[in-house]
């Protein structure tokens, strides 16, 4: 047993080649940092999602507005303005629901019966009965909401379906579907 026992030579990595150790540490690095940043991403998403509540305690977008015969022909009716910010207009050719928000900066125009126009108290914008803007700084006609007859024969205004006023365009022609013809 005189023969000397020597350790087998360590395998020499070729220059630039990936050693087993380097390969494993790279794998662990990818797994570790990948997990870390994935979890951070999930936290980030949770943080953002937190600010969008699922349940709201505010008036629903659609509401029942009573029977059509409650609205005389030619009237601009503000009975739902306080609660839902909607004007219901009954013209000989049908009903339509106007959003009560001024298209200038979001104030609430009033209907002036003797002048047959909506007038905004903030900056003086004026709108015709059909919502068309004709004076003051408002850049476009009043928006409209979808109005239709429910199963019980009552009018229903759906504020989640909006027909935005377009500058210079009459909403009656632009959105025939915004008019409820009975």
């Amino acid at each position: 047993m005189a023969a000397s026992v020597t350790a087998p030579p360590r395998p020499q990595a070729r220059a630039g080649a990936t050693t087993r150790r380097k390969f494993l540490t790279d794998i662990f690095s990818v797994i570790g940092w990948g997990t870390f940043w994935s979890i951070m991403g999930i936290f980030g998403w949770m943080f953002a999602r937190f600010f969008f509540p699922n349940v709201l305690f505010e008036p629903p977008p659609a509401f029942e507005a009573g029977y059509p015969h409650e609205y005389p022909v030619g009237s601009v009716d503000g009975r739902w303005k306080e609660r839902y910010n909607v004007w219901i207009v009954h013209e000989p050719y049908g009903f339509f629901a106007l959003d009560g928000t001024c298209t200038h900066l979001g104030c609430k125009p009033n209907w002036i019966e003797v002048e047959q126009k909506f007038k905004c108290p903030c900056h003086g914008s004026g709108f015709r009965k059909d919502g068309m803007n004709f004076e003051g700084p408002a850049p476009r006609p009043l928006d409209r909401y979808k109005i239709y007859l429910g199963e019980g024969g009552k009018l229903i205004v759906d504020r989640s379906v909006k027909f935005p006023g377009v500058p210079g365009k009459n909403s009656n022609e632009l959105y025939p579907q915004s008019i409820l013809r009975i």
Partner: protein
């Protein structure tokens, strides 16, 4: 004097070498000196009683509170015609707003039933409530003015130039935060002015590109009044009770927290970038 120069280095200070106070001539055993030399007082300060220029600097550098003020100030830095003192005044007003704001929180409840009446109560019945609220209000207006003038002064004196260019960026962020603090505070009285100002202000968020339901590419990305950026700001589709509590929390905690960190970095960078800039 020669004896004082042999004072042990700070890093070598040990319990046995706990420094003792001396008057400027190194003497003194009166009542005041005994108090200053007491274990309790010496435990508060990390340095010996300062006796010369170097130990005075060390005292300032080794104290959290004292080091907020620089040890040396160039002569031009205290010249009002050069600095207008607008940065300092902004900081002073921020402190005033913090203190008066904390006091207002003792009486104010951020809910639609209470908010308006609590402000009425503060204005009419709470002892010194009216001057407290008015201090908060006027200091807020004044701070916005001083922050803008500070920005103007920094621009006119060219103090935004390297190496201070990043501090300009932090300063712009502080300006935005100051305006956000003003805007969120504006809703809290819950009166008509507050209501409509915030209605108009948040209506602008509708028009945010991509993120607003009336902005460019917003509807194409599926934005509605119930899932866009305005909804996240208000916590609903209208300026209601969710909006009030949200604005309250941003105003009292969220924005001041960010504001305080940015201010700390702002002041630190002023010091590290060479102190207040000088006339060229």
């Amino acid at each position: 004097m020669s004896e004082e120069r042999q004072t042990p280095e700070q890093s070598e200070r040990s319990e046995a070498q706990r420094p003792t106070a001396r008057t400027t001539d190194g003497q003194g055993e009166g009542l005041l000196m005994r108090l200053i030399n007491s274990h309790f007082i010496r435990s508060i300060y990390r340095t010996p009683w300062p006796v010369d220029r170097r130990s005075r600097i060390m005292t300032v550098l080794n104290s959290l509170v004292l080091h907020l003020h620089p040890t040396r100030i160039p002569r031009h830095a205290v010249k009002v015609s050069y600095t207008w003192c607008m940065g300092g005044l902004s900081f002073y007003l921020m402190l005033l707003l913090t203190i008066t704001g904390i006091l207002l929180m003792f009486y104010y409840r951020p809910s639609p039933e209470h908010a308006y009446w609590d402000v009425k109560y503060l204005m009419n019945d709470v002892p010194f409530g009216r001057i407290l609220r008015n201090m908060h209000r006027w200091a807020a207006h004044a701070m916005l003015i001083t922050v803008w003038l500070h920005m103007l002064r920094v621009f006119l004196t060219g103090s935004y130039k390297p190496p201070r260019e990043f501090n300009w960026v932090i300063g712009v962020n502080l300006l935005v935060l100051t305006m956000l603090l003003s805007f969120t505070g504006y809703l809290l009285p819950w009166d008509q002015l507050a209501m409509w100002a915030v209605t108009v202000g948040t209506n602008m968020a509708r028009a945010t590109p991509f993120l607003g339901h009336e902005g460019p590419f917003g509807p194409q990305l599926g934005m509605t009044p119930y899932n866009d950026v305005r909804f996240a700001l208000l916590g609903g589709s209208i300026v209601g009770e969710n909006a009030l509590i949200r604005f309250y929390v941003w105003h009292c905690l969220g924005f001041p927290f960010i504001h305080a960190w940015l201010m700390a970095i702002h002041f630190w960078r002023v010091r590290k970038d060479g102190g207040i800039s000088g006339p060229l």
